[in-house]
Amino acid sequence: MRAHPAEYELVAPGSLPVVLELLAKEPGTWLPIAGGTDVMVQYAAGKLAARKLVSIWNLPELRSVHATSVEIAIGGGCTYTDLRSNPLVCRNFPLLCSAARWTGGIANQNRGTLGGNIVNASPAADSLPALLVYGAELLLISARGTRRVPYADFHVGYRKTSLAPDELILAICLKPQFSGYYAHARKVAARNAQAISKVCLAALGKLCDGVIEDVRLAMGSVAPVPLRLPATERVLKGQCVDANLIAAAKVAAAAEVRPIDDIRSTARYRAEAAGNLVVEFLERLREGSAAR
């Protein structure tokens, strides 16, 4: 059933402190809405539980990219368009830029935000595996102050996060420490734009004389949360990339993912594709190293 707009309240205070005050006064009552690319879909379908919404769209404190000597802080309200057009972000975190290019079409990239993608907490979100491999930290803010949490601990279950009801994501903080790594992103879906992934991979690898010095792998749509693959990484670390290792990693990745059957794909296909994506990454890693 369609939603009736008269039953919903929406306010736009236009200032972060006022928004935080509102969230603190009645925790859990007010749902923040940024670009609306997820919230408005639920609203239109009559499935939005919240009746009171507070707009955080375009709040200047949430919309900037700020670089310090140790990290780059991307405002929680930065859109995918902001990300893909930011040279600092694209140079240091190419996997995040690839994901931004794949999310929705141009119109949704103009409105969808990275903070919204994280809080919406879909296991199929394209940008989240990139945040896992880059070891992102989230800077959360409320009227009580700020706190930092490792992004890897943020998703505590299917569509559940550790965000308190009075908190917002102020920034996503990334350390530019992967410049020597080969970066590889791959999405398997019906089409790239406007399609939700069946499986997607974000991968970083560093080779030294044919030996994998470091490797970081994360996948979307293969578990209740965006998934890092530590067991597969352990198989690879310190090993020489050859056909045997690649075969072993394929088996390890297929075993490590926890996919389900749903409207987009099957668990069996996803596990197979997960293994194949790791194979593709390792082959490229090896070729890239040979070319150098």
Binding site: P5, A12, G35, T37, M40, S55, G104, G105, I106, N110
Partner: protein, 164 residues
């Protein structure tokens, strides 16, 4: 259940649509799409999927392409909106409209306004797009009639004419 919920008052919201200042009376969560079509009679903006997947309801909001089905009207207060009705001027079609006509870029017409506005944003950012850039610029707009070829040709043709 619906009877127990408080019904809230409408508010006056000012915006600029196709160069004209307007004040609409709407509930803040009303979709920009509905306000354009019902309050302002601008029915060129179409509703397809209603969930941001098809691009039929694309408009320019402060010069930026958006799906108007996903924008609550309160977030448009003080902004400029351009719909398909705002592209032609002085009795002359916009270069994109003319090219879509000549190249056969429209059949049933439901996707056409959104396609043209998406192309409009593309050409503003990238005046001489290659095929890949045109495809990406229109990737959020679905057409079920043309097979896309004539649409892509129309955008390329409009770009050629605008640059000349």
């Amino acid at each position: 259940m619906r009877g127990q919920l408080p019904h809230r008052e409408k508010r006056e919201i000012s915006l600029n649509v196709n160069g004209r200042s307007v004040v609409v009376c709407a509930h803040p969560m009303e979709r920009l799409l509905d306000v354009l079509r019902r309050e302002l009679g601008l029915t060129g903006t179409k509703e397809g999927c209603g969930e941001g997947e098809c691009g039929s309801c694309s408009v320019l909001l402060d010069g930026t392409l958006v799906n108007s089905c996903l924008v609550p009207i309160l977030q448009v207060a003080g902004s400029e909106v351009t719909t398909i009705e705002g592209l032609a001027g002085d009795g002359r079609l916009h270069a994109l409209q003319q090219a879509f006509l000549e190249c056969g870029g429209a059949q049933c017409g439901i996707c056409t306004p959104g396609m043209i506005l998406a192309a409009c944003q593309l050409l503003r950012k990238t005046p001489r797009p290659n095929t890949e850039e045109i495809q990406e610029g229109l990737s959020g707009n679905l057409c079920r009639c043309t097979g896309y070829t004539q649409i892509l040709e129309a955008v390329a043709e409009a770009a050629r004419r605008s640059v000349e």
